[in-house]
């Protein structure tokens, strides 16, 4: 039964992360990434404001004023976005390669992390850009649909509908990075694979992602608001890492030919 198999994945993941604690190292890298992005945004804002002042923004005409604010601000946002994608990609592929090592019962080392980056960063970076691009060009449609969904489903379900909607969407994008690392696929094929898995095994993926969201949120809030600020990143990171290993194990089970046929 699908539920029992998922529970076995949860169990196995627990033993794996307990044995190979190296899989948790990227949590600290993620913190560094967020600090870097934060610094860039703060410094960028300060530079934008000061350069505006020095350029005589107070005396500028409306159009000139907008251009003097919009151009440097857009540059800062664009730069932050590119740096974010690169850093996110680095950590994502490195982490997945660490998970792969741990699942294969090898001790995850920095070599696994860097090999992952060297081999798969390009694909993950391209895939992420592609997803963002598609989201951006289709944004008017899905924003409208989301607005309607919010009114007709989100409110009458007391917010559960919105959570379920986010999880349904995430289910379709849950395994594409794993597909790149595990099966050495290109970005488009990996996204297709991820969609195909979500279509064929929707219930298990939905359950894992729902558990991830609920448990991570609860763990982050367990130590109160101050604890959330000081240790939320770590607690959330531990839970997310564990559930990512669960997703990886589930992915392996789903893409395993024999199991696939059996299902």
């Amino acid at each position: 039964m699908w539920f029992d198999s998922i529970m076995d994945d949860f169990k196995n993941a627990l033993f794996i992360v307990n044995k190979h604690k190296g899989v948790f190292v990227p949590i600290f890298l993620r913190l560094i990434m967020h600090i870097v992005i934060g610094i860039i945004l703060v410094v960028g804002t300060i530079i934008t404001i000061t350069s505006g002042i020095f350029a005589g923004i107070s005396e500028a005409e409306t159009f000139e004023l907008i251009m003097r604010i919009a151009v440097p601000a857009s540059l800062v946002i664009l730069m932050s976005y590119i740096i974010y994608i690169v850093l996110w990609g680095l950590i994502e592929v490195g982490s997945i390669n660490l998970f792969r090592a741990a699942i294969n019962d090898e001790t995850p080392t920095k070599n696994h992390f860097f090999i992952g980056i060297k081999k798969y960063l390009k694909h993950v970076f391209t895939g992420k850009l592609l997803i963002h691009f598609l989201m951006m060009i289709s944004s008017p449609i899905w924003l409208l649909l989301y607005g309607l969904y919010f009114i007709f489903v989100g409110i009458p379900t007391g917010g559960w509908g919105l959570l379920f909607f986010a999880i349904v969407i995430s289910s379709y994008f849950a395994t594409w990075t794993i597909a790149i690392v595990h099966n050495d696929l290109g970005p488009i094929k990996a996204i297709k694979q991820s969609f195909s898995i979500a279509r064929h095994h929707f219930k298990p993926l939905f359950l894992i992602l729902l558990t991830t969201v609920m448990m991570t949120q609860y763990a982050i809030a367990l130590f109160g608001p101050v604890g959330m600020i000081l240790a939320g990143w770590f607690l959330g990171g531990v839970f997310r890492t564990y559930f990512n290993v669960v997703i990886y194990l589930t992915y392996i089970r789903f893409t395993d030919k024999e199991t696939f046929e059996l299902n």
């Binding site: 539920f3 029992d4 529970m7 076995d8 949860f10 169990k11 627990l14 033993f15 307990n18 409110i155 009458p156 379900t157 007391g158 917010g159 559960w160 609920m214 448990m215 949120q217 609860y218 763990a219 809030a221 367990l222 130590f223 109160g224 608001p225 101050v226 604890g227």
Partner: protein, 309 residues
């Protein structure tokens, strides 16, 4: 780690029992429906209060009077819900027991549970209330000293140690204090896995936010109002009325009316659906806690009998 991993085996058994015994959802569904009706009534009563302000000859004294009556009725509704929730809990817990012991819900187990445990559950709830009353000051102090962490952690730890209180009482027909001791003992010996299970339970069903469950804190209802109170005494105290306010209110009331006509059904449906979703998780994790108790107590009984042999 083995012990924590066993939680997923409990979940497997829980899922299997859940899918085979849909009757487990009936009692709470009835309670949720009742709660939704209470919400609709509360909304309508509140609407009547708002409407009464717009009636010529309205006075603030009348409003005070209706508010007092409304508060009384609201309190009564909360009390009824609390009482019914307790009864449902007693019956439901016996259904869980029957499910675990026989693999399915035995006919009449709900009623039997009410007869056997409702009063004991009532006493437990009173004891819990008194217990919280006693620790409320240190709890607040600890909460502030630990930079608010205590506000979340203390109830969580208390929940871990008392989660088997009613379970042990139902599963082994123990007395109140005896089952509390068992619960503490269980919490001590299985602290980590039980904490994880309680975490699952709380993460999914959350702290009570208007579910139809026995855990639910019904105190967040709208204040209610007795409709009969608006029909009499409308001519008293006209001299107290602020006419400019009433004029303004008369204009605004049209919008309030529309708002109420939209809000009452929307909120009621939201309460109904959200409560039903939460109920699924609540039933699942409550049953998982029963299974954890059953499996661990069985294991220790087996070990004991081995030692005796």
């Amino acid at each position: 780690m083995e012990q924590i991993a066993r939680i997923f085996d409990y979940f497997k058994r829980t899922y299997s029992l859940n899918t085979k015994n849909k009757q487990l959802y009936y009692p709470q569904t009835s309670l949720i429906l009742l709660k939704t009706i209470f919400y609709v009534i509360s909304g309508l009563i509140l609407y009547k209060v708002m409407a009464s302000i717009n009636v010529p000859g309205f006075s603030y004294e009348m409003l005070r009077y209706s508010a007092a009556k409304t508060f009384g009725l609201g309190f009564l509704m909360i009390l009824i819900h609390w009482f019914l929730a307790m009864i449902v809990e007693a019956g439901l817990f016996n259904m869980y027991k029957s499910c675990i012991q026989h693999g399915s819900v035995v006919t009449g187990s709900f009623g039997q549970g009410i007869r056997k445990y409702a009063f004991k559950f009532f006493l437990i709830n009173i004891l819990t209330f008194i217990g919280w009353g006693l620790i409320i000051v240190p709890y607040i102090l600890v909460g502030f000293v630990t930079l608010f962490a205590g506000f979340v952690l203390v109830p969580f730890i208390i929940a871990v140690f008392t989660s088997m209180w009613k379970v042990s009482m139902v599963m082994e027909d123990r007395k109140i204090i005896e089952s509390l001791k068992t619960s503490f003992q269980f919490g001590k010996t299985h602290f980590l896995p039980l904490s994880v299970l309680v975490m699952f339970q709380r993460a999914f069903s959350g702290l009570p936010k208007g579910s139809g469950s026995f855990n639910s804190n019904s105190g967040n209802w709208n204040s209610n109002y007795n409709p009969s109170s608006t029909t009499g005494d409308l001519t008293n105290g006209i001299e107290n009325v602020d006419f400019s306010f009433l004029q303004w209110y008369g204009e605004v009331f049209q919008y309030i009316k529309v708002g109420f006509f939209i809000l009452i059904p929307v909120v009621s449906v939201a309460v109904l659906i959200a409560s039903l979703i939460k109920m699924i998780f609540e039933v699942f994790f409550s049953l998982a806690i029963f299974i954890m108790y059953d499996e661990n107590v069985n294991d220790s009984n087996k070990e004991l009998s081995k030692e005796v042999l």
